[in-house]
Symmetry: C2
Amino acid sequence: MNLRTPGPTPIPPSVAQALAQPMINHRGPEFEALFAEVVANLQRVFQTQHEVLVLTASGTGGLEAAVVNLFSPGDRVLAVSIGNFGDRFTKIAEVYGTDVQRLRFPNGHAADPGAIAERLRADPAIKGVLVTHNETSTGVTNDLEAITRAVHEAGAPLLVVDGISSVGSLDVRPDEWGIDVLIAGSQKGWMVPPGITMLAVGPRAWEAHRHARLPRYYFDFTAAHKSAQKHQTPWTPAVSLLYAFREALRLMLAEGLPALFERHRRLGAYTRAGLRELGLRLVPVDERYASNTVTAFWLPERCSADAVQERLRAEYGVVLAEGQGELQGKILRIGHMGYVSEADIDAVLQALRQVLATQAATRA
Amino acid sequence: MNLRTPGPTPIPPSVAQALAQPMINHRGPEFEALFAEVVANLQRVFQTQHEVLVLTASGTGGLEAAVVNLFSPGDRVLAVSIGNFGDRFTKIAEVYGTDVQRLRFPNGHAADPGAIAERLRADPAIKGVLVTHNETSTGVTNDLEAITRAVHEAGAPLLVVDGISSVGSLDVRPDEWGIDVLIAGSQKGWMVPPGITMLAVGPRAWEAHRHARLPRYYFDFTAAHKSAQKHQTPWTPAVSLLYAFREALRLMLAEGLPALFERHRRLGAYTRAGLRELGLRLVPVDERYASNTVTAFWLPERCSADAVQERLRAEYGVVLAEGQGELQGKILRIGHMGYVSEADIDAVLQALRQVLATQAATRA
C-alpha cells in the first residue's frame, strides 16, 4: 500500500524493526537511557532549548494537555481556527470552561495576523491564544512567524500552537519566535506510529502553569517534569513507540534538519504541480499558504470523493484521506510528510489520472 | 533479560512481529476490521456483554476516564484503597473535585467488604465506590466478588473497579457481579506493550454518564462510543499496539480462559512456595489474599533492596520491580502474568537464592 494519509504515515523498515524490541522495566537503566536520548533529540528537531514533554496519547491529548495545564476556569482565550482541527482545539478550551473568544477564518484561508492583533488590542483581558500552525483538514499552513510577531506586539498573551502536522517537517522555531507551548504528534513527519504526543514548554508557560487551576492528573505537566528529571515518565509509557522514536530521530538527524525541511518544501511543490497538471483545484485559496505536509484538492463537479478514494485504494493501493466536516465528500487529501519521496507522489498522481479519466460523474 | 516486573510484561515473538506491521489509514477498511476483532475478543476475555472502550493511554488514563465520565463536581465518592494504586485512584477523584470519602486499609491487607458496606449504609449520599481489584504495589488481591455483593446490598452506588493488573489474568465477572466500569491496561497479562487502556462500561454507567458534568474531551465515553459504532476511534489510535492486541488476544483465546486463569493461579502459588523456601516473608499478611499476578516480598533486615535488585539485573538478567511509597527500599515485587511459565519463576528464585546468600547486610 502507498499510504498517503496525513497521519498515520509510513514507517521506515528500521523503525518497524525497532518497534519489535523486547519490553523493559520503565523504572530501570535501559529505559532511562532510551528516554534521555529521545528527549534530547526531540529538542534538536523542535529547535528548542526548553523542556519537551513526552506523553502517551494522540495529538488531541496533547492539545488538551496544553489547555488544562495553562489556564483556570473563566480565563479568556482567543481561539484562532482555520479548519476542523482548529475547531477541535477551540472545543477543548470551551469544554474545560475557559472563556473562549472565537476567531474563525473560512476553510481554505490562512489566519490574518492583523486580525488576530486587532482582537488582542481590543481585549487586553485575553490571557492566551490558541492557533494551528498547519491545518491538516484543508492543507493550509498559517504564517506562524508573522502570527507570533503580531501576538507579541499586541500584548503578548500566552501563545499555544498546534504543530501536530508541522513540527518535524516544517521549519518551526519556538524559542526564536516566542511560542510558549508547541504541540506535536508521533504519527506525522516523525515516522513513528500514533500514540505519543510531544510538547515543548517554554518558561512563560511554566510560570502560567504554577497558577493554572483547571483539573488535570494524567496530563499534568508537573508530574511529567518531575519524572523527566530521572529520565522517566509518571505513568507507564508506550515503550515500543519510544524505541521507534529513538530510531526515527536518528534517521531525521542523519538527514539533517535543513535537508529535511527542504525535502518537504520540494515535495509540497511537486504534489501541487502534479495536481494542477491533472486540472485539479487546490483547497487553499492562496498557494503561498499551501501546506508542504498535506495537500487538499477539490474533486471535479459530480465526481464522488468516496468512489475515487475507494478505487484508488482497491485498484492502485493508493490510500488518501477524505474530507472532514463540510468538506466531506468534496475533497481528498494527500499526506507528504516523513518517509516519502517523489516516486511515492508519482504513483499517487498516476493512479489519480487513471481513476479520474474513467470515473463516471457519480457524486451523490 | 527475564523481565519480571508487574508491567511492562514480556511480549511473545508473534506479538512482537505484529507490532512491526505497516501503518494503515485509521479511517479505512483494514483498520475497521482490526478494531472490530480486537473489541469483540476483548469482550470475551473481559467476560462481558457490555461495550469495551479502547483508549490510547496508560492505565492511569483509564482510571481518570472512569472518574470524569461518571461523576459531577461535588458528587460523594467512597475511595477504597489498599495501597499505592488505590491512593492514585483516590487522588484522581479528589483532583477533579468530587467529594471523596477515603477508606484506606493498611499495606498488605485486603479491603474488608463489611467495612465498605458499613460506610455506605452510614452515608446514603455516596454515589460511587472506587476500588482496586489487584493492588500491584503490595501483591494483594481483594475479594472482589464479596465486595460487589456488599456494595449491592448496601444501596448499590456505582461500582468502579481498577482491574489493571487483574483482568485478562484473573477470573473477573463484571456482568455477573455487577461492576459498572472495569478498567484494564495492555501491558499486564494481555502480553501487549503499554499504551492502551480498556474499559468495560455497563448500562448503569452509561446512564450516569448522561448526567456527569466533570469536564472531559480526549477521554469522553460518548465520543469513543460514537466512533466505535463505525469500528473506529475518535482520535488517531495507537495502531501498532492494536496489531499486537489482535495477535495477543488470539493467543489468549487459543489457550482458553479456564486454562489461562488456572495457569496464573498455579504460578502465583508456585512463586509464593519458592519464596517461602528461601525464608522470605510475603507482603500480604493473609495468603488467602495473595495475588496470582504479582508477588511482593520483604527483603531480609539490613539487606538493601536496591542492591539486590541491581545485582539480580546485572549478574542474572532478572528484572524485578522495587517497592513504592513507604515500601520503597524494603520490598521487591515479582510479576507473573501474561507470557510466563514455571521456568521463568525458577530462574528468578535461583538468582535470588544466589544473591541473598552473598549479599552483605547493606540496607541504607
